[in-house]
């Protein structure tokens, strides 16, 4: 999709959200903070990305058209176990299931919309990137 320049850099952050407004604004914010992102509107699109191998962190919405966020995480994890995840959901009653916990997700990896300060994302993503890099 767009931002192919960033595709080549290591430590790419995937933003998967069906709402463009949210997806783009988050991408713009992160880019201002020097974090390279790649965006996808659906799980299917995301899995078809060329630069899938370069993704280190994925920020995933749960409710999506087609494959939902949970299935996407499981699918991507099956292919690339090193990818770290942040769940960004508008559902108020979301809870982690056993599979997600097994992948390594915990409550602090779940951010509920609306996130009042996107600095939270930068903090979380940077932490995940350093974890992945080490």
């Amino acid at each position: 999709m767009n931002g192919c320049t960033t595709c080549r850099s290591r430590g790419l952050v995937l933003l998967l959200d069906d709402e463009q407004n949210i997806r783009d604004s988050l991408a713009e914010y992160l880019s201002d903070c020097g974090i390279a992102t790649v965006r996808a509107e659906s799980a299917e699109d995301a899995l078809a990305l060329d630069c899938l191998d370069d993704i280190a962190v994925a920020v995933v919405d749960i409710r999506l058209g087609g494959m939902d966020g949970l299935e996407f995480i499981k699918a991507l994890h099956a292919r690339q176990p090193a990818v770290r995840y942040i769940i960004h959901t508008g559902s108020t009653d979301f809870q982690l299931d056993a599979d997600l916990r097994a992948i390594g997700l915990s409550e602090r990896d779940v951010l509920f919309k609306p996130v009042l300060d996107m600095a939270l994302f930068t903090q979380a993503i940077r932490q995940k990137l350093t974890e992945a890099g080490s």
Partner: protein
């Protein structure tokens, strides 16, 4: 009875004995006199007869010899013979008178009335010729007889007197033995008789095979006593039963949680139960008999209405009547029932305090309102949160990108040929930065509202931990102080905080963050309320144990709440603050957390111009997810 017994003991001997004695003595005197008289009369006539027979004897024995002496004119002989006659008893004088004038006299003359005079002719018979040669006159002296009798009188009187006296004494003692002493005993017994001694029968010190009148009286008396005793026992039993029944009814009336007051047709109190005593402070004995409006002026029902109910014979009912007692407002159900029996017209006034029920109903309405809001929020939260996220995130990006500090901003500005500093100054001057902040602020508020609304859902898997409530309260005060300092130009440290914590309080199982949220809301609201009042602000924080629960009071000395507002403070979206200052959900969320999520209670008490007290009660036994009463 005491007077009687006193008089009885004072006279000792008894009146009857004395009376009897006096009468017998009088009788003795009378009869002695009578007997003496009779005796004297008899003796006198006997003596007289004796005198007469003596005189007759003189006639028979002396006349012949005297005649002979006289015939022979033997004077000496005559005189001697007269002398001889005179020697006889009671002879006053003796005289012989001859026809030829001779007079021989011996003795003394006396009044003829006192004498019995006999004249015997002296006939001398010589040679077939009888000649009266003289007359013998003999005078018997009645006075002598009387004199002798006089000597005897004393003897007779004494004899008769002693006789009668003996008889009298005998009679008195017999009467005493047979009657008087029994009468005395009976009198004593009766005098000392009272309810307690009624058991002891009347027993006299006498034995008789055949019952006499005294025995009959005693038996009759004992029978009467038995009957009396039985009567008393029956009456006592009846009285006890009556008293028990009365006490039972009294007890029922007093045990009722209602105020029960009965009045007569004029409105005078006839019954006044314990609850009425408690409510008015007036004792039953002070209230009964006085007019209803006089003894219960604060009554939620007026005298006129009661009288109307009585005269119209129609019950009066008024439910949930607000009733002000001092500063507190209670809700009462008032019923006035006219009495059904016509014998004593009147009415029963019943006043039930239903404040608790009204409060629970209000609470239930609140809770249900909140739950329905919670349900609504859960349904729409996703749909609102996504656009909210869009607004907030974009606003934040824009805010970032007008900042002259970001290197990327400078690069793009240079590319398009503008100065970032000046652009920022422009936005600043045009208020755009403030507007952007405002967009974000509004977004935050909307997010908080949704979040708060979402907390109106009954969660079943609440994680409860044992928490030291006092420490939590102190931490929350600290937090509120910081929060408050940042946002308002009001110095939280100027608020005096009085802590009244009961020592050794048990830890309370609760969701700490939620309860902290509750305290935080209350403290922040209180501080805001006090800020509007020109007086030394003061919080009083009280924590004490109620046994099964812990009661936390947060009292402020702010302007207080009028009753109509006080009732509504827990209503969702109810706020007294300016639009934008609050979400209108803080207290209702707090209420929901306490009542629905912790099974506790939350109340507010307020006195206008004096302050408001929020009371949170948290149970020590978790697991009860609904307030008691609400589910009933």
């Amino acid at each position: 009875m005491t007077v009687f017994s006193q008089s009885l003991s004072k006279h000792g001997g008894g009146r009857l004995g004395r009376k009897l004695l006096v009468r017998i003595l009088l009788g003795i005197v009378f009869f002695t006199a009578l007997g003496t008289m009779a005796q004297l009369t008899i003796d006198y006539s006997k003596d007289l007869r004796l005198l007469e027979s003596q005189l007759e004897q003189i006639h028979s024995s002396r006349v012949s010899s005297l005649t002979s002496s006289l015939w022979h004119l033997d004077e000496a002989q005559v005189e001697s013979q007269l002398e001889g006659i005179l020697d006889l008893r009671d002879i006053r004088y003796a005289r012989v008178v001859t026809p030829d004038g001779l007079d021989f006299f011996r003795g003394e003359e006396a009044d003829e009335k006192t004498l019995i005079i006999r004249k015997f002719p002296l006939h001398y018979t010589a040679f077939d010729r009888t000649e009266e040669i003289g007359t013998l006159i003999v005078a018997g002296d009645k006075n002598a007889v009387q004199g002798r009798l006089k000597d005897k009188i004393l003897v007779i009187v004494v004899t008769q007197g002693v006789q009668f006296l003996l008889v009298g004494v005998l009679i008195v003692s017999i009467v005493y033995m047979l009657v008087t002493r029994h009468l005395r005993r009976m009198a004593l017994y009766t005098a000392e008789l009272n309810i307690d001694r009624l058991q002891e029968p009347l027993v006299l010190d006498k034995t008789s095979s055949t019952p006499d009148e005294i025995d009959i009286v005693v038996n009759a008396f004992n029978a009467m006593r038995e009957n009396l005793l039985k009567d008393i026992r029956q009456r006592e039993e009846a009285e006890t039963k009556l008293k028990a029944a009365e006490g039972y009814i009294r007890n029922i009336l007093d045990s009722m949680p209602s105020i029960l007051i009965s009045v007569d047709a004029q409105g005078r109190v006839t019954q006044w139960n314990q609850q009425a005593v408690r409510k008015t402070g007036l004792r039953s004995e002070d209230a009964v008999g006085r007019f209803f409006d006089e003894v219960f002026p604060q009554s939620p029902v007026g005298m006129a209405q009661i009288i109307e109910a009585v005269t119209g014979n129609t019950p009066l009912k008024a439910l949930k009547v607000p009733h002000k007692i001092g500063d507190l407002v209670e809700h009462v159900d008032v019923t006035v029932y006219p009495l059904e029996t016509n014998s004593a017209p009147g009415a029963v006034v019943r006043i039930d305090n239903v404040s608790e029920r009204v409060r629970l109903e209000e609470m239930m309405i609140q809770s249900e309102k909140m739950v329905s809001i919670g349900g609504l929020a859960a349904g729409m939260a996703h749909e609102i949160n996504n656009p909210l996220a869009g607004i907030l995130q974009n606003a934040q990006v824009i805010r970032n990108r007008v900042s002259p500090d970001l290197p990327a901003n400078k690069a793009v500005a240079e590319e398009v040929g503008i100065d970032m500093e000046r652009l920022h100054a422009y936005f600043e001057r045009r208020g755009c930065l403030r507007m952007m902040d405002s967009i974000m602020e509004s977004g935050h508020r909307a997010a908080r509202i949704v979040e708060n609304m979402l907390s109106f859902s009954r969660k079943s898997n609440v994680q409860m931990a044992k928490v030291d409530i006092c420490a939590l309260l102190d931490r929350t005060v600290e937090l509120a102080a910081n929060d408050y300092d940042l946002k308002k130009q009001y110095d939280f440290r100027k608020i005096r905080i009085v802590r009244e914590y009961e020592p050794d309080l048990p830890f309370v199982p609760c969701e700490e963050s939620k309860i902290q949220q509750v305290f935080f809301n209350l403290i922040r609201n209180g501080a805001q309320a006090m800020a509007s009042k020109q007086a030394e602000a003061c919080f009083v924080l009280r924590v004490r144990s109620l046994g099964e629960s812990v009661r936390i009071e947060i009292e402020d000395n702010g302007p207080g709440l009028p009753e109509d507002l006080r009732k509504r403070v827990f209503e969702p979206f109810f706020t007294t603050k300016k639009v934008g200052e609050g979400t209108g959900l803080g207290l209702s969320v707090s209420y929901f957390i306490v009542v629905e999520n912790h099974g506790g209670q939350m109340e507010v008490e307020s006195v206008p111009d004096e302050g408001t007290t929020f009371i949170v009660t948290l149970p020590l036994t978790p697991g009860v997810q609904s307030v008691e009463g609400v589910l009933q």
